[in-house]
């Protein structure tokens, strides 16, 4: 049992390590789900809708970021605009 106690004492990850690990795993899992099913151009009607676009209102996004970054210690990582319709 002694080796088990020792192992626990030395291998418990810190809060930050857990956070990074969780994010990496989540991202990896989500990336793993990508690209398995191609969407044909004829199937992109819903993807092209404005409510499917990320940050469709650039000024709203900018103002929100402005407020939140002044009320929170973190900043950035809120993504980029556009959507996946590929309409460009």
């Amino acid at each position: 049992m002694a080796w088990q106690s020792s192992s626990k004492a030395t291998n418990i990850p810190s809060g930050r390590t857990k956070l990074i690990l969780a994010c990496v795993l989540a991202t990896g899992f989500l990336f793993g789900a990508c690209g398995k099913q191609a969407v044909r151009a004829s199937e992109k009607e819903f993807l092209a809708d404005r409510i499917m676009q990320f940050d469709a209102d650039g000024q709203e996004t900018s103002a929100d970021e402005h407020i939140l970054s002044n009320r929170e210690g973190s900043a950035g990582g809120r993504g980029t605009g556009g959507g996946g319709c590929g309409c460009n």
């Binding site: 819903f46 409510i51 980029t80």
Partner: protein
Amino acid sequence: MAAAVAATRYDSRMKRSASFLGLAYMALPIVLPALAGVVAPSSLAQAHAEDRVDSTTTWYQEKRKGNLGGLTVVHPQFDIGVDAGDNTTLDIGYSADAVSGATAAVYSTDAVSSATTFKDLRHAATTGITFYGSRSTLSISGNIGSERDYNSIGVGASAKVDLPGKNTALALSYNHGFDQVCDFDNGMATALERRPLTGQQACEKQKFLLGKDVAGDSVWRDLSFDTTQATVTQNISPSVVAQFGLYGQVARGFQSNPYRRVRVSGVEAQEHLPDVRGRVALMARVNKYLPSIKSAMHAMARGYTDTWGVNSVTLGLGYSQYFGNSLLLRTNARIYQQSEATFFKDAFFYETEGSAGEYFTGDRELGAIRNIVGGMKFSYIKFDENGGNVLGVFDEVSFNLKAEVYLLDELPADPIEDNREGIDRQFLSSGQAVDAFTLQLGMLFRY
């Protein structure tokens, strides 16, 4: 009114370079030459650019304790985008921050009693050029900002490429900010001897955007930002799209609030923060369309960590619903929680124990906090489905009205049972269920 000392006020200055990033995608310069090859055939591509005029005004109102009124911010934004040929768009923008309210001069167990009032006005301008290819865009942008005691200049670039099949889009961005912060000329004083800026100092400038030192009075301290972001946007199915992002930033230079004092072992010294801060964030979000009821669901998650010891998690949900062809309602809710920086202490412990190593701060945003935001947005969108004009001129006209409420909670950073003074008065938050709200009115014209 005393020229004032503003915790909140300075925070907005220090972080504004990051806020500008939302205005344009920035790109890693190293990849731009490679991407230029993708963009080059754009002369053969169809026209992508579109003229637009976009204006939004945001009113942020926060309550304050102790009959001190509130913090009020009015943030107008105005952007114009015009075609410069079939494949190029030029953008210019202007925004301002008119800020007034109360702020604590000294971070202590009773910050409320030391509160003073202040007013401030900031102007900012952006410009950019975007080149559109058949499967790619390349943007280059710049921004400037100026107020009495802070200057900022930023340059950046971004690139976005749709992979074959147009189900995957990759975006890269990079931005560099050259900022300057006005500070009291403390000469060679040690951290606990440093005096704060009071608003009486000159903070002189030359050529509008360059600080000029005045010996014995005020000096300008450099602060730079290097920010990069990579995102992947992926169609998962005909009704699901997801985006994943990795963000990093390094800030170097003077990052303390020059106005803020912290009571440390009986001494009220200027806040003292590390000169370097590295940030990393990972983000994922997904939109799901519900064709049967013409609506969409939105979800997002973000994890963040930095070299000051702040770790945070953000979770968000949203729902968009059409009513007829022109009305759109979106509701959203978001919860955020962060841990305190390694050198942050509740005010009682700075006063009784002293600083945590070399550094000390009274910044609420470096403490342990939990914020909840909820709101809704109404949009009226008008366009001719047959390709005609609206009002005889525009391709599309939209009006937006958005309202949100904020629940801002401070959490104890140290053992609360040992803190005889508590944390209720160390910041100027409202102490009520709803601490702040925003109202936002926007208009967009495409033509």
